[in-house]
Symmetry: C2
Subunit: 439 residues, 2 copies
């Protein structure tokens, strides 16, 4: 039996999970890959801790199990990259620093396959990386980079090849979804729910990239590249996160039988791609509304096969590692026949402000008769039909209500708000909140 030699760089939550799986079910993996899978070396700054956590022998670690300085670790990495013996490198250091970027290029340039969970790197600095892999005829496995254990990448690349993807929507950040679920179920404000998430280990001490939509944006960028063959940047997506969602918003959502979720959304309309990451009001009839806690879910609407849901664990140690190990088997099986990413397509990335959604707009106003009528009239003047106006929450001198529109563009709504501001300065006590409604 031929041999596939692997090195793992970084033995934290994900890298350690990879080492654990490869060690525990090595025979099965080798049978499936039809090559003996050999884990040759792990580079990790603190091997003792990792060895204990993942039940690994110390002699797997470069340096024999001793703690490494950054320089020592780097020397071991250089050895691995220049070694003719290693066939495939698992990069589980993470982040999009120059160090990791150059490391990945060096791995590919040394004609080794690369498997990684690094969504930030591939989404923001992926172009040269994919081009280098192409030039060197090596493969990049990145199933773990999008929604952890959910096999969405291989599903798009290998199972939906007989179809055309019309739209993708999904809950792709477990931390945000956990926080929103807590707010919904416990009637909490954002800060309280965030604190709870941090205490329960569902949010990191610095949760910025999770709650501001950045992490979800990375995943959507990769899915758009796979599904539509076009490159978009984070700026293109006009990402917004969940930091400003309030208990009130959730209350208004309930009133229209919807739940607020941080949604990644991409849709192809007449060759144009519209995409965004933002909180949306997902109607209870849409299964995504029921995805609670740290679970991830992706909804794909295909031209020929209709609607599909994939649901699973979006994060975790062996959960994410499973996707990496499956990529190793896939690359071992199919090697040079795999196409890393589809050919680039000539498609327009369109302005999401021109995309037609039904919206919910929430207004904070003074408690003055005539306000609702004035605002509703201003909305109607922009050719927007109104679906419902919520029960008005009057409180002292203030009032608050929401308007659910029929499908219209964000540009139309912004025009209406501009007119309200110019004709009645002072009527709006704060910036109206505008969220798409997802059926």
């Amino acid at each position: 039996m031929d041999i596939l030699n692997i090195a793992i760089l970084g033995c934290g939550t994900v890298g350690g999970g990879v080492a654990q799986i490869i060690t525990e079910i090595n025979n099965e993996l080798s049978v499936r890959a039809r090559k003996k899978i050999v884990l040759k070396k792990i580079v990790e700054l603190c091997p003792a801790k990792a060895a204990e956590r993942f039940n690994l022998p110390l002699d797997l670690f470069c340096g024999g199990g001793n703690d490494l300085s950054a320089t020592e670790a780097n020397n071991y990495i250089r050895e691995i990259i220049s070694s003719k013996e290693i066939d495939l490198v698992v990069e589980t250091i993470g982040g999009k620093s120059d160090f990791v970027y150059n490391l990945c290029l060096d791995i590919l340039n040394s004609e080794k396959h690369l498997v990684t969970a690094n969504k930030a790197l591939l989404a923001e600095r992926g172009q040269t990386i994919f081009e280098t892999a192409e030039a060197k005829k090596v493969k990049i496995g990145f199933e773990a980079a999008v929604c952890g254990a959910i096999p969405i990448i291989k599903t798009i690349q290998e199972s939906f090849t007989g179809d055309k993807i019309l739209s993708i929507s999904g809950i792709m950040n477990g931390t945000s979804n956990y926080i929103l679920t807590q707010m919904q179920n416990g009637k909490l404000e954002f800060d309280e729910a965030l604190k709870l998430a941090q205490e329960s280990g569902y949010a990191e001490a610095n949760p910025l990239l999770d709650i501001n939509g950045g992490d979800a944006g990375h995943k959507l960028i990769l899915l758009i590249k796979l599904a539509y063959g076009i490159d978009v940047s984070k700026d293109d997506l006009s990402i917004s996160g969940i930091e400003n969602i309030t208990k009130e918003d959730i209350d208004f959502a309930n009133e229209i039988d919807a739940k607020i979720k941080l949604i990644c959304y991409a849709k192809k309309v007449n060759g144009d791609i519209y995409a965004t990451v933002r909180p949306m009001l997902v109607k209870n009839s849409n299964f995504l509304s029921e995805v609670s806690g740290a679970t991830n879910a992706v909804r794909i609407n295909n031209k020929y096969s209709g609607i599909h849901f994939l649901v699973g664990k979006g994060a975790g140690s062996t959960e994410t590692a499973m996707s990496i190990v499956s990529d190793i088997v896939f690359i071992t099986r199919y090697g040079d026949k795999i196409q890393n990413i589809p050919e680039k397509q000539e498609r327009n990335f369109a302005d999401a402000r021109q995309f037609v959604f039904p919206y919910l707009i929430t207004f904070h106003t003074g408690n003055i008769p005539g306000t609702t009528g004035f605002i509703a009239t201003a909305i109607g003047k922009q050719e927007i039909n109104i679906e419902t106006v919520s029960h008005n929450r009057h409180s002292g001198e203030k009032a608050m209500f929401s308007v659910a529109t029929m499908p219209c563009t964000l540009a139309q709504i912004e025009k209406a708000i501009e007119e309200i501001r110019s004709e009645k300065p002072g009527m709006l006590l704060s910036e109206p909140k505008i969220m798409p409604i997802l059926y």
Copy 2:
């Protein structure tokens, strides 16, 4: 660009969908497959009808669009099989007759790849077919055979290779699920719901194989082969269908926050495989309980990556055809590197009667004080703990109630019923209904 020449045998609902997709998105398919995909010939008894339904040119059909006799069709099929030009044959005639069985063997023996949705054939007579493909080094694509559009086969074969599948459960027959959903929502009896399903096109005039669990059994047999590498027969699965489900059963299910679903179930316990197809009470906390109508859903519990759900259309023309077309692309891409089925494993198929489930047992008795106590005592004597006893439906001289047990074996329950029968002949007015409860 190299060429892949395809023939389709049978241009009904599924075969016609395949021809339609290949015709409509031929360019995309060829780019993805990296070979020009050419649909050379279709054999169909009534081409005119098929050509109109699927918008196909008549000259694609053998015989130039004229109706064919069985003999003529068979001659064209022989031509295709002996043609050196055809690389891959799509078999969409269906059924497990000797004719189709021998046809598939002939296709493989002529060194052509075979793509099919034929679950009955592969589940009941698959062994020689897979062995022939192995001997002739050709591939069998059968994604369409299990749950139509849901890419469950490729997910198990290519995306979960880094894991161990602990259990599979799923709703794999849309007709049964549609009927059960109608019974649940409309408070209908089975016969009424079946009639509705037939009127709406969700059930065929002869719905036997759908409602008796046979069709779902075929799918489970194929999934067990893929997930665990063992061959089981329909008899092994002790299949039961939904024909005997009543409005009362659904009422008792509601009482314990569950819905009755026809469930395909397979679980590995210490190397043994337990599997069955039968109506189960799916707790509302399990997402499968929410899968309504003709939708299919598969739940996979993996050792390393936890619980996954795949949800999608289990039937339909282009829905099922999409899986066939994706198989064509997959075979064109990876050809001889694909392993049709995993290597055979040495695993026991265990007696499902010894498998531990919580159960709901429904008793019809006389309306006589002491009955509940006697029955509950008899159950307790078999070391079965009782979770709840339902509200008793007294009606004249009759009474009816259900007992939800803690996890126990079917063998234990059968023993308890035997004892009740022997100690109190006449206490049970009918055979108690026993259904597993799925959390």
